[in-house]
Symmetry: C2
Subunit: 517 residues, 2 copies
Amino acid sequence: MNGAECLLRTLLINGVNVCFMNPGTSEMQFVSALDRVPEMRGVLCLVEGVCSGAADGYARMLGKPASTLLHLGPGLANALSNFHNARKARSPVISIVGEHSTQHLPYNAPLTADIPAFARTVSNCVRVLETPDQMGPAASAAVEAALRPPGQISTLIIPADFSWSPAGSVGERVDVRPRSIPGPEKIRHAASILRSEARVGILLGGSSLLRPGLLAAGKIGAASRTLILADRNAARYERGCGLFAPKRIPYFPEPANDLLAGLAHLILVETQPPVSFFGYPGQRSLVAPEDCEYHVLASPEENGAAALEMLAAELGADAPPAETPPSNARSVPEEGPLTPSVIGQIVAAMLPEGAIISDEMVSSSEAVWPHLGSALPHSHLPVTGGSIGQGLPVALGAAIACPDRKVVALEADGSAMYSLQALWTIARENLDVTVVIFANRRYRILDVERERTKAGSFGPRANDMIDIGRPDIDFVLLAKGLGIPATRVDTSRAFAARFRLAMEERGPSLIEAVLCS
Amino acid sequence: MNGAECLLRTLLINGVNVCFMNPGTSEMQFVSALDRVPEMRGVLCLVEGVCSGAADGYARMLGKPASTLLHLGPGLANALSNFHNARKARSPVISIVGEHSTQHLPYNAPLTADIPAFARTVSNCVRVLETPDQMGPAASAAVEAALRPPGQISTLIIPADFSWSPAGSVGERVDVRPRSIPGPEKIRHAASILRSEARVGILLGGSSLLRPGLLAAGKIGAASRTLILADRNAARYERGCGLFAPKRIPYFPEPANDLLAGLAHLILVETQPPVSFFGYPGQRSLVAPEDCEYHVLASPEENGAAALEMLAAELGADAPPAETPPSNARSVPEEGPLTPSVIGQIVAAMLPEGAIISDEMVSSSEAVWPHLGSALPHSHLPVTGGSIGQGLPVALGAAIACPDRKVVALEADGSAMYSLQALWTIARENLDVTVVIFANRRYRILDVERERTKAGSFGPRANDMIDIGRPDIDFVLLAKGLGIPATRVDTSRAFAARFRLAMEERGPSLIEAVLCS
């Protein structure tokens, strides 16, 4: 058994059975080993950022790592921006990077680069394999590190000769350390604040936005005047009819300030004090009031849902949530122009139960978000690290993770172009992914950010730098060129008809929704 | 004058008048300033790797830097793989990266990342601006650093508030330090070796592959039995009829070993001892004989062409080169199946004088290369750092640099998919670029590398990981979707007809050449 096979077997023993890959010469042994270790599913991607984004989406849905297999420093470099997002999502990922063989490394060949330096930008756990017999233990340790709460990217850099050399034994199955339960003093402290007369908020982040956390938070909200809030950049929300709906902190600081106005205390669950996405001239970065006090109920490493359950019990809060989203007839708007809000209504009305939404709508997001709250229960995968280009790869990874669930990627046109190559892998794997392109032919969010950063009015040359309609990008041709059936629509009725069809059928499709301007 | 305008004006004073950009919120002031500083040409790219690759191509043609404008750490991350190639090409580039405003940085917003750590992976000169009044001097210093021989990526990280704050004065015009001339002892030493009875080679790299260096090397070759060689990963070759043609070191070690067999001495001109691209089991990495002695005539920082001229004078070698490429009737092959060699013949026959070739043919490269030597004189831009995805962006940058020259991108299908987004900017700028896609539907080079790395025969699952024909990638649809006219051909006659048309007309076009398998 060579090193490559040893690595794959060690990953498998630890439940890691998917590898998003873009291999090169230094990874040939891993590719070859796929036929000897058929339980490992190789998923080929045309560019490395698709691999890292897919691994993020996979981890957000399953809470366990996929692996990625990348070629030397530059291959890893292409994956870093989506690894940045995965890091902010606290997604566990096993990042395997091939290195030149040890005898070749001193000679400064063209592809020679400082791979650990690339890796450390997104990964606290970076290991270069030093001898071939370490392969099994190193792979086990990489899995342990990836899964250490709250989850991280664990990088294993493997010189090519250690993958072709005989390896030692397959590594052990590692114990997954569960998230620790916050101590009773944290619970009592939070309870005492909630019992005070002050205006108090609880901000849910991380895993506390899944069902158990929402249920407990809903009870606390029902039993008190507490404002229950949601981190807008958490890895995953469970949402929809019948689920308690915390209020998501808005993107821009003014509405965020308004929502949080008057809060004397903010209790943090698996998250940090909320901050605006960007800083603006003369504006504070923290969006809670200046004199707001922060209290940690559960750190990102701890079990926020368990903490909320204990807090609910401490408060005697066992009534169902006072608030549920408005029940919704799920009516579809009549014929009319296509706006983000109209798309939101239609998607909410037609989304099947258990669907997964990958959200990279950018300027369309705030208009679509409220509608989705009344859809059937589903998972929503938001922007986490803000690095553009995550939407399609995250949808791909979520679809690999959950083959029985419909995946809908809601994607801005500008953003779609950073990782468009994901469509090919979605086609290749025949995944049940519907991509909706919000086509406004512009980096629309920058029209707003320009004003906010007081960059003045744009002249024609500046304006041209945020205009992506010259030439028009034809997403129907692009999708078809990558093997995905696609159509363009520009009215609400046409969009509703196409989206309904996509929800009824299985398999990949793309709808280019041309927004009215 | 705010900081952004001060930066642009300082760049302009120093002759830097092109900026390949993918801006975001933190760069809005730079975009806005484009209308106040209209001499700065902004070139919008849909993904950051296109910006960095274009800056590389630009620098290789003009020997002066373009700037790039990227958004925060993740934006820079997407540019790193092509910056790796630019670093290996020793291309001067001014990399401007926007950072969060200083007041925002401590709060760990979603996009917060360690930008200097990203930058240092490809750049020895990384500076974070510390006060707004440093802008002018810092920009001047960045230009000086980029142009310091042999050329490098010079990174300037600018907090958003320093671009919107009032700046100090515009920075000074910096003196460009010329490459130094090697001392006479180096010349005499090389001459003494050349006068010996031993078998001697001279390996040309860096700027010595431009016309003056070729001319001098040709004289030396004519006056001695010296083997004149070319670094295969240099930034740029001047090639074609009438130009002295050093022998390029082959990609694989065996033919490289054969070419260099018997060499007792290898004289290095702006390059290092030649090494194979990858290391293989049981093979040496250096391709010259084990007992070959290396001698530096000119280091990468020095002027290799001047050194060669002095060496020729020292040797009394002033006769014209003994070797020129065979004169060529530039005949076009008859109708038949399309192979890389046939494409090479046709391109060589039809390439106009002064054309620029961007070469990312990968497995097709060795078959095409010899034919191009008999084309009319042209510039050839090879793979430098080996990071896939440079071909289309380098073509884009070269076309911006040299608008009056025809640019031909010879591009493998797999490679084209890493930076396909470059096509959109080529269309948008209406550049005179002809893209030829070598479509074999496979990461073909990996069929060879699999054997070479002794990864055994591939089973069906492994084979599937290097097969990009499932589904087929339709480059005609992809190009049209990005605004470029495109056609598919699969015979030599059809290719010749299309390529001739592309050479006669101006403007962008793409030919998908389906290779016979």
